[in-house]
C-alpha cells in the first residue's frame, strides 16, 4: 500500500533537487556586480521605508471581528440558496426554511445595530 505513495516521494526529491541545483548553479556561474539598490530589501518594487515593527490601532481588531461575523453570515447564505429550490418543491418546507433564514439574519441584524449604537463602527 505504501508503494502507492512512491510518486509523491519522487516529486518531493525532484523539487528539492531542482531548486538546489538551480540556486547553486546561478550562485557559481552568474556575474556579481552589486549596487546599493540591488542589495536593499525587496519590497515588491516599493522603496522600503522605516521599521516593520509598528504599533497598530486596536480598532483594527474590532473591524476585523465585525468583518468575520458578517462574512460568516454570507457563507451560510450560499449553501442555503443552493438547496432552497429542493426544499421549495416539498409542500410547506420552503416557507419554513425561508423563515428560518430570516430569523438568522434578523438576529445578526440586531447584533449589527448593537455594534453601531455602541460606537463600534466609528473610528473615533
Amino acid at each position: 500500500m505504501l508503494i502507492d505513495y512512491l510518486p509523491i516521494v519522487f516529486l518531493g526529491v525532484f523539487a528539492v533537487l531542482f531548486a538546489a541545483v538551480n540556486l547553486s548553479l546561478t550562485h557559481l556561474l552568474g556575474p556579481k556586480k552589486p549596487t546599493r539598490v540591488k542589495l536593499s530589501v525587496y519590497e515588491s518594487g516599493v522603496q522600503p521605508v522605516g521599521d516593520a515593527r509598528q504599533r497598530f490601532s486596536i480598532r483594527f481588531d474590532l473591524i476585523a471581528m465585525l468583518f468575520i461575523i458578517f462574512d460568516i453570515e454570507v457563507v451560510f447564505l450560499y449553501p442555503w440558496a443552493v438547496v432552497f429550490k429542493t426544499f421549495a418543491e416539498n409542500e410547506g418546507s420552503g416557507l419554513f426554511i425561508l423563515i428560518e433564514m430570516l430569523v438568522f439574519i434578523g438576529i445578526l441584524l440586531l447584533g449589527y445595530i448593537y455594534a453601531w449604537r455602541k460606537g463600534g463602527l466609528t473610528w473615533d
Binding site: 426544499f87 416539498n90 426554511i97 440586531l110 447584533g111 448593537y114 449604537r117 455602541k118
Partner: protein, 490 residues
Amino acid sequence: MPLEIPDINWSLLMPQLVIVSTLLIVLVFDMFDAISKKTLGWMTIVGAGIALWSSIDLLQAGTDQTQFNEMFRIDSYSLFFNIIFLVSTILVALVSISYLGSGDKKQGPYYLLILLATLGMMLMAAGNELIIVFLGLELMSLSLYVLASYFRESPASSEAGMKYLLLGAFASAFFLYGIALVYGAAGTTNIPEIISKLSVGDQLSLLSESPLFLAGIFLLIVGFGFKVAIVPFHQWAPDVYEGAPTTIAAFISAGPKAAGFAAFLTIFVDALPKLPTQATGVIVLLAMLTMTVGNVIAIAQTNIKRMLAYSSIAHAGYVMIGLAAANPDGKSSAMLYLFIYCVMNIGAFGVVIMARTADGENLMISDYAGLGFRKPLLAMFMTLMLLSLAGFPPTAGFVGKLYVFKSAVEARHYWLVIFGAINTAISAFYYLRVVVTMYMREPEEELEFKPYPPTLVIGLVLAAIGILLIGILPSLLLDQAQSAVQSALL
C-alpha cells in the same frame, strides 16, 4: 439526495428558547438606553426563572428524547443540569445587581454575556454529540473570557481575562484535537455510538485498545480537566478568581464547572468500564492529586478569594471520585454534589461581596477578625457556607460528600475514599480558621462596611435555605438525580 427537515418538537426546547429570547430582549433594551440598566438584571432573573420552571416541568413529565438528528438530548440528565445552571445564573444575577452599581453604563453587556454563557452550558449538558459539546464549551468560554476582564480599568481584572483567554484557547485546542482523534478511530462523533462501539457483546472491541482512540480520550481528559480545573491543569484558577470581579469569580467557579462535568460524566461514566483499566487509574490518580493539592495549598492562602479558588479545585476532586466510581450511583452522586457545590460556593463568594467598605473589597482573611459580633448577619452566612463547604452535618455539603464516598466504596475504590476523608479533615482546618478569625479575634482596625444591598441578602438567604433544606431532606434532590441516571440507563 432528498432533503428533509428534521421533526422539531419546539416545546422540548423551551428552556433553551426562553434563554435565547431573554438574551435578545436584553440586547434590544441595552441598545436603546431606554430603561435603567438594573432592570436588565431583573429581566435576566425573570428569564432564567421561566427557563428553570419549564426545565422542572419537563423533568417531571419524564421527557427522554433526542432532537436535531440525535445531536441534542432532552432527558432528565440534561434537564437536571439545566436546573443547576439556571439556579446558579439566578443567584449570580441577584448578587450582581448591587455589585455593579446603578450608574454603570456597562451593566448591559454583563447580563448579556452571563445569559450567553448559560446557553453554552445548557448546550454542553444536552450535547449528544462531541461537536455540540464543543460548540457549547466555546460559547460558554468566550463569554467568560470577556466577563473575567469586565473591569477594564483594573489591571488585575485585565490580567485575569488575558490569562484565561490564552490558557483556555490552548485547552480548547487540546479538546478539539481529542475529538478529531476519537472521530478518526471510531468513525463517529455521536457519544452513545462511540460507547457502543467499544464492546462487541460482552467482549471489549478492538477500538477500546486502539492507540489512536486512547490518545484522543486522554486529550479529551486534558481539555475537560482544564475547564473544570483539576490538578495538574488548575494553574489558571487562582489567578483568574482573584483578578475577576467577585461575582464573576462566583459564576466561573459554579456553572461552568458543572457544565464541564456534565459533558465529562456523559462520556466517561459509560466509557470507563469499557476502556483498559489504566484509564480508570488515571482518573483515580487525578482525583487524588486534585483533592490533595487543592486542599494543601489552600491552607497557605491569606487572600480569601484565592483560598476559595483552591477550595473549588479540591471540590472538583471530590466530584472526580464520583466519576472514577463509574457506576450509576457515582453519576447521580456527582450530580447531587455539583448542585450543592454551586449553591454553597456562590454563597461564599456572596459573603465576600457583602464585606465591602467604601474603598473596595476586604479580601484578606485577617480583615474578617472580630466580625462575629459586630456583623452577626454577615458572620452567620459566612459560617454556614464554610461549614457546608467543609462538609459538616446538617448542611448540604455533608450530604454531597456522603453520597460521593458511598458510591466509591461500592465501586471498591477504598483508597480513594480514604484519601477523600483525609482531605476533608485537612479542608476543615482552613475553612474553620476563617470562622475562628471572625469570632475569636479582635480586629486591628475598625472597618466601616457599606450597608448590605437587599438583592444580595435575598440571594444569600435563598442559598442558605437551599443548603439547610438539602442538608436535612437530601431525598428532594437525590431522588431526581437517581431517576435521571436510571432513565438514561434504560
